[in-house]
């Protein structure tokens, strides 16, 4: 019995190619996203939601906002080389982490360090890439979190391959790939989603559409009705969600993950959100965005939306506010403490993990660097050897 069985795979269950075969091969209607993005806060769904889930989302969103502020501050202090903030996108980041179980895998992009931290990875380990002392500071296998991916959308086929392998092994593991609106223009996005649908892999794609790929607005990125509509072309469902509505994102992702888990195949989720900060601390967003637009999105801030909903249900008591504030400050204090010290750097680590065994050429180059270091040390700290 093989996993890739024509009897099990709807996509493969097409009769032989013959003249007069009917088209389309599958009905596109169930795959289409709803015209309006899914919303939960301020609706009956929020009234019915588990109060503890709402509290947990709130505590984590408040901490997430503080995390973004603290990381940005660390760039100003020279403690981070660069920080692509997810300010304004905290609902997506937190909901992505909460929708996964420990055995599931997260495939983040460089803007998704908050999701990585929300998964339980230490902030210091999550941020080594952006501090500049190590490409990946955490153990991907132990944390089921792939390295932060910088080349756009290249992590998408990785998530598909891992999910496919898990399915072949009969394991109850789902992969969730995070990317932005710009990433959907990349070939790897297309190839990854096509593979996912053909292989019926248990994988979910969350596109955080924040309106801009650095400076280029979505209208110059795609002419699709919505990015979620792209799913239909691959033969998977597309879901549209208000990305600043933490409960809605959590619901849509949980449903998509459950669908993948239970053999239903992949889902593409487009979350409509906004990057309140610039692309990174090195970017100037005023060159391409109007202040009025940013202000409008500030009024639709994910933390505020959740606060309003909690208040509406009488859940935002002093205790919760104090707990959330304290957790956020603890996280920020931890970051300040961890990043206060300079990282310990071992220049010889350059050669440590190129291959399982270094080549003869790498051994010689390591000797060369060791000699350079020795000469530097001899010339005195900070001095030049020649």
């Amino acid at each position: 019995m093989t996993v890739l069985d024509h009897r099990n795979d709807p996509v493969a269950a097409v009769p032989g190619w013959r003249p007069g075969a009917t088209a389309p091969r599958t009905d596109p209607a169930p795959l289409l996203p709803d015209p309006e993005p899914h919303r939960a806060l301020g609706t009956a769904a929020a009234d019915a939601a588990d109060p503890e889930l709402l509290r947990e989302l709130y505590r984590r969103l408040v901490a997430g906002r503080r995390y973004n502020q603290q990381a940005t501050t660390l760039t100003k202090q020279g403690r981070l080389a660069v920080y692509p903030a997810s300010t304004g996108q905290e609902a997506c980041q937190v909901a992505a982490a909460l929708a996964l179980r420990p055995q599931d895998w997260l495939f983040p992009s460089y803007r998704d360090t908050l999701a990585v931290v929300a998964r339980g990875v230490d902030p210091l380990q999550a941020l080594t890439l952006l501090r500049g002392d190590a490409h990946t500071g955490y153990d991907p296998r132990a944390t089921r979190t792939a390295p932060l991916c910088t080349p756009l959308a290249t992590q998408v086929p990785h998530a598909v391959g891992l999910a496919h392998a898990a399915r072949l092994a009969g394991d109850d593991t789902v992969a969730l790939a995070l990317l932005g609106d710009g990433g959907t223009s990349e070939g790897d996005f297309h190839e990854g989603l096509n593979f996912a649908a053909v292989l019926h892999a248990p994988v979910v794609f969350l596109v955080q559409n924040n309106g801009y790929a650095i400076s280029v607005p979505l209208t110059r990125q795609s002419a699709a009705p919505t990015l979620a509509h792209k799913a239909v072309g691959y033969g998977m469902p597309g879901r549209l969600v208000d990305g600043n509505d933490a409960l809605a994102v959590h619901q849509v992702l949980t449903e998509a993950v459950e669908r993948a888990r239970s053999g239903g195949g992949p889902t593409l989720v487009e979350a409509l959100t906004y990057r309140l900060d610039a692309h990174t601390n090195a970017d100037d967003a005023t060159r391409y965005r109007q202040a009025e637009e940013v202000d409008a999105w500030r009024a639709h801030d994910p933390v505020r939306l959740l606060e309003d909903a909690l208040r509406g249900r009488g859940l935002l008591d002093e205790q919760l506010a104090a707990d959330a504030a304290e957790q956020a400050e603890q996280l920020a204090a931890r970051m300040r403490a961890e990043f206060h010290a300079d990282p310990e750097l071992d220049p010889m680590s350059l050669f440590a993990h190129v291959y399982a065994e270094p080549t003869q050429q790498l051994r010689e180059q390591a000797e060369q660097l060791a000699a350079e270091l020795a000469a530097e040390a001899e010339a005195g700290s900070g001095g030049h050897s020649r």
């Binding site: 490409h135 496919h164 790897d188 993990h353």
Partner: protein, 335 residues
């Protein structure tokens, strides 16, 4: 191609294509984590029939016909390897592997390094490469230099039937990613070989022909040309050695230097373009390391620095016996 099943009689006659097929089959039998994926590798057995019969024996999960998208194939293989599988990817032709270069360069080559050793990727990327088969445009590139220039990849290219089997088995067993370049013009050459006999490991060059005058340093598709040139050189009074590098990365500098120092004259031969090619690196290293033993500069004989020509012109591009002997004649022989 008849299905290559190992008989127990030891020595057998077979083609490189059959040896590669048997290597895949034996690797898949020995290790359930070995998965083959690529375009047309299933029912068809690959356009060169290297995966012939694998889906029949191991099923579509183990030998997977993928959509036609090379970056997607290799990217999917990365994820499979992250989950503990040992993927063997087939790229259909040299020039069709280029869409996968970003996955190869940015992820496959770097993953061990960028995760401090936590995520090695035991992926073998098989690529039929090189010309001399009358292929039309985009079917004949010798692309080894791109891969050899990328730290983190092993670059292996067999030139004999026995090496095809032995080096592919070793590549699949390697915990490092291997770009396995198959000289497609040697696919159908027959030889006697014994699958059970061990070959020299990855990273070891082998002297295919001893000689006393000079050495031709080569690999992959150019080995038979060099052996032919060495044979022809006898008439000119030259006794040429031929060194088969077998792997470009790791480069067996020790063996190459030993041979060059003992003979003092060397010509590096490959069919890919000379500028920035593997031969440039090899010649530079041999010169740096063997300078005081050299009687002449290390010369290179390569394809021209032109896009691969149409098949009716390719014999003017590919290094042949005459071009090699012309170079040998320029090795500053005493009158």
């Amino acid at each position: 191609m008849s299905t290559a099943v190992r008989d127990q009689s030891g020595l057998r006659t077979g083609t490189m294509a059959q040896a590669l097929n048997l290597a895949l089959r034996d690797a898949m039998r020995a290790d359930k984590t070995v998965h083959v994926l690529g375009e047309d590798v299933g029912a068809l057995g690959g356009v060169f029939r290297i995966t012939d019969g694998l889906t029949a024996e191991f099923g579509p999960d183990r030998c997977l016909d993928t959509p036609l998208a090379e970056a997607g194939i290799l990217g999917t293989a990365v994820g499979m390897a992250m989950y503990g599988l040992r993927p063997v990817v087939e790229m259909q032709f040299d020039a069709f592997a280029y869409p996968a270069l970003e996955q190869l360069f940015s992820h496959v080559a770097k993953m061990r390094n960028r995760t401090a050793g936590k995520l090695p990727l035991p992926i073998t990327v098989r690529i039929p490469y090189g010309g001399g088969i009358g292929g039309v445009e985009h079917h004949s590139d010798a692309s080894e230099a791109y891969y050899a220039h990328t730290p983190g990849l092993h670059v292996v290219t067999p030139a004999t039937v026995a090496d095809a089997y032995g080096l592919l088995r070793e590549s699949i067993a390697s915990d490092d990613p291997v770009v396995f370049l198959e000289p497609k013009r040697l696919y159908w050459g027959k030889a006697e070989w014994d699958p059970a006999a061990a070959v020299e490991p990855i990273g070891r060059a082998v002297l295919r022909r001893p000689g006393r005058s000079a050495v031709l340093v080569t690999y992959g598709p150019s080995l038979p040309v060099c052996l032919e040139a060495a044979e022809a050189a006898k008439a000119e009074g030259w006794d040429l050695a031929v060194l088969d590098l077998r792997t470009l990365v790791p480069f067996d500098e020790a063996t190459a230097c030993e041979v060059v120092r003992s003979l003092g004259r060397a010509v590096v031969v490959h069919e890919s373009a000379g500028f920035g090619g593997a031969g440039a690196e090899i010649a530079a290293r041999l010169t740096e390391k063997c300078f005081h033993h050299l009687a002449a500069p290390v010369l290179r004989v390569t394809g021209f620095d032109v896009p691969y020509p149409p098949p009716m012109l390719e014999h003017h591009h590919l290094p042949g016996v005459d071009r090699i002997l012309d170079a040998v004649a320029r090795l500053q022989w005493e009158e």
